[in-house]
Homo-oligomer: 338 residues x 2
């Protein structure tokens, strides 16, 4: 496939224009464009401009509000409820982040409930900036019914990703972001598109049999990572990012979905903690670096997230590539519709 | 092996007497005996009286303080630091629980850092009582270096268990408690004792090769559940239950260990949240029951923890069994040493 090379600035401008031309105000377009371009910056093209046509479809059909103005409510000293007002998740996070940082500085901990947002962005983008501030953060969200609970062969849970970030001394934060399915659904879709077989254990066909065929898995069910243990974590995420904060569970999101390929509504829970407030203010940074150094001394071991971060310098300098047909589509979507 | 049947009352009295005869004050003996007997009540004998000789060894050799008086410090509105003063974890939890419940009622959230405790109790015992109060709770702790990080064949992480409890309407809480290794180390030890083979994927021998032999795995390394994803969770637990709260990482605990078979020192993090404070006060109980009902309608699926809870009524009525040689040992340990 022909590729087009873009600088991060060019990519962001293109994304911004697409969003503005399709019903977003400046704040929503800026936050969502910045989110996708930050994913591209780290070589994570599956959460980059690739997502833009999906956002545009849902903006056009009125599923999401491109002019949503998120509202933040403090329900207790350490609890924030950030209502996205049926807009795209990135603006709720951009606005919420400031409030979260202020509260964590003040209280040492924040539990933030993001509600009424439409999410299809990478979760690590929501926690790494908090680790840049010196905090540790965990976040999780539901998706749609794609994953069979342990013991079953029918989808129930979402792929329910969880991301975690830890602040480091003189290094980029340690960050992981992982679905609770063996593979993220996007990876299975890409294998289907490219006609590849998957290793055994990723998913089941509609009859409930293990299969290597990605198309059969997309019709059937993904499996949770690590069997019943990953299944328990998927359930925990349903309860914390759904039940706890009054947002739909993955099967409810599936039932509500218009299937337009755009982001889906749902909730997201974020926990941010300031290690300076937990008793080892002088020592924790050095102490944790000793663990990281020990890990890296083990042959074959790397810290989660390092591959992504190692792309950063190169892409900032050289730009990134998108398929030519996606580029053409985006140029068309960016044209002003009057 | 000959078994001896005990009522829960008899078991608790025996445990209490063993602890008192070996250096515990009433409060420590009561909390630790109650902890082990609650495990027996749910048929979890691996965390029941089976653990008692280990506690006694460490009491006798002075590793743990049987007269420790835990101290609670409130570091912020929602942060408690519960210092076990080098005593056994159960008393820190018994005392800490009251403070946690009070704080969660007040603030909707508590992050509790348990420090300077010696832990070898079941973690679900620390979260189920909070769900009985209507809260959800997560807890995690480190252990010793038994688990190879993804990509490696040498142990680094602990088996680092995580437990989660969710309060239910008119039902016992939903509770899970799982090591981040494929199998808990105790399960591998029991297989070694009984001369059984393990399924592939549980662990590696000292040369780094997959093996079904439990003794070879005990000399080599356990594997994290779900490959690199479980490995990332094990790392997160090292950071949150160790680095965040100024407590040793699993390899540091290994280095400090006197290898006496008793509990090891370390930290534990507990997060408790009141769902009433997160925006769906009227609806969350019913909403979550809909999800549980849907799960249970799937053939082959059961809620985590149900097997354990189903033992409860029977054991309360009929008592529980321990091996005759353990019973003899405990009777001897319970004799007053003047």
């Amino acid at each position: 496939m022909q590729q087009v090379n873009l600088t991060l600035e060019q990519g962001k401008e293109l994304a911004f224009n697409c969003l503005i031309s399709n019903g977003c105000d400046d704040a929503n377009a800026e936050a969502t464009a910045e989110n996708m371009i930050t994913a591209e910056r780290d070589g994570c093209s599956s959460h980059g401009l690739f997502r833009l046509p999906g956002y545009v479809i849902s903006l056009k059909n009125g599923k999401i509000n491109g002019r949503a103005a998120p509202v933040i409510k403090k329900s207790a000293s350490s609890i924030l409820r950030i209502d996205g007002k049926r807009g795209m998740a990135p603006l709720a996070h951009t606005i919420g982040k400031k409030a979260i940082i202020e509260r964590v500085h003040d209280q040492g901990v924040v539990i933030a409930a993001f509600v009424n947002i439409f999410h299809m962005a990478a979760l690590w983008l929501d926690v790494e900036p908090l680790a840049d501030e010196g905090f540790t953060a965990i976040t999780m969200t539901t998706s749609r019914s794609f994953v069979a609970p342990a013991g079953s062969s029918k989808p129930l849970f979402g792929t329910n990703p969880m991301a975690f970030a830890w602040p480091r001394a003189n290094e980029l934060p340690m960050v992981f972001d992982q679905a609770t399915s063996v593979l993220a659904r996007g990876e299975v879709q890409i294998a289907a598109r490219d006609g590849l077989e998957l290793p055994e254990g990723v998913g089941l066909d509609v009859r409930g049999c293990l299969t290597n065929n990605p198309e059969s898995i997309l019709e059937g069910a993904l499996l949770p990572f690590g069997g019943y243990k990953g299944s328990a974590i998927a359930l925990m995420i349903e309860l914390l990012a759904g039940g706890l904060i009054g947002q739909p569970f993955s099967p409810e999101i599936s039932a509500l979905s218009n299937g337009d390929g755009g982001p889906e509504p749902g909730g997201q829970l974020l926990i941010a903690l300031d290690p300076d407030r937990f008793g080892d203010q002088k020592g924790w940074r050095h102490h944790c670096e000793v663990l990281f150094a020990k890990m890296k001394s083990y042959p074959g071991v790397r810290l989660p997230g390092q591959r992504r971060q190692s792309n950063r310098d190169r892409i900032i300098k050289e730009g990134f590539q998108i398929p030519e047909n996606l580029h053409k589509e985006l140029l068309k979507l960016a044209e002003k519709v009057d």
